[in-house]
Symmetry: C2
Subunit: 133 residues, 2 copies
């Protein structure tokens, strides 16, 4: 990482385990805004923060478009505050969605554990029978 706190595309790829194509794609979709030095991209701290959120959002099953809208909340400067309340509503909806997701995840984990217990017993039973035979 250079002294001016920017990273090349390769450094970004190594840090976040993504391909160059992905970063260029995200720029085209206006999720990232690397500055240019000549024609080379330089990714700022802001880009890195955004990318972290993008990758997290993806793991939760949000689309890039949904993520793009949410990112505005995290990186809003004074000049954009006009849109704040709209974004604020969006964030609340996402929060509700995520908490519902967590509730269902808890339930699913419980059920899966039950099945695994059943599987464990089943394995034990088979072993007994083998030994007995």
């Amino acid at each position: 990482m250079t002294k001016d706190d920017t990273m090349t595309i390769r450094e970004m790829c190594d840090s976040f385990d993504v391909t160059p194509r992905t970063l260029r794609f995200y720029e085209a979709k206006e999720l990232l805004f690397p500055i240019r030095e000549g024609n080379k991209r330089l990714f700022t701290k802001r880009d890195r923060a955004r990318l972290k959120l993008i990758l997290r959002g993806k793991r939760f099953g949000f689309t890039l478009e949904e993520i793009r809208e949410l990112l505005d909340l995290y990186h809003m400067d004074d000049s954009q505050v006009t849109q704040l309340s709209k974004t604020y509503d969006l964030a609340l909806r996402h929060l509700a969605e995520m908490e519902a997701q967590r509730a269902e995840l808890d339930e699913a984990i419980g059920e899966l554990k039950n099945q695994i217990d059943w599987g464990a017993k089943e394995l034990a039973r088979r072993k007994r029978n083998e030994t007995a035979a």
Copy 2:
């Protein structure tokens, strides 16, 4: 639902809020196994249980292929127990993945709440300034 506990494709669609195309697609992918009466599909209780799990899995971001493998654990009869330990391992991996997902989800919810609080304060500040002006 008929007396023999089966449902037509339409009843399934209404119950689970999916399209006929989706159910036929899942059958083609061997996720569901409706029986046939003439050429009409009849979905059993087992199909309904599987569909519920399929839709849940999708909400958690699993692919249909991943889900298909997991379904075997939930619907294993004695004749299939040979593959049990393989499926058991798979289930354990999925469980680990889901618990990791929950941990990250908790963190993300926390951060999002912070941002929302910031947004709420920002809105309040703007309102004060408007009133003051």
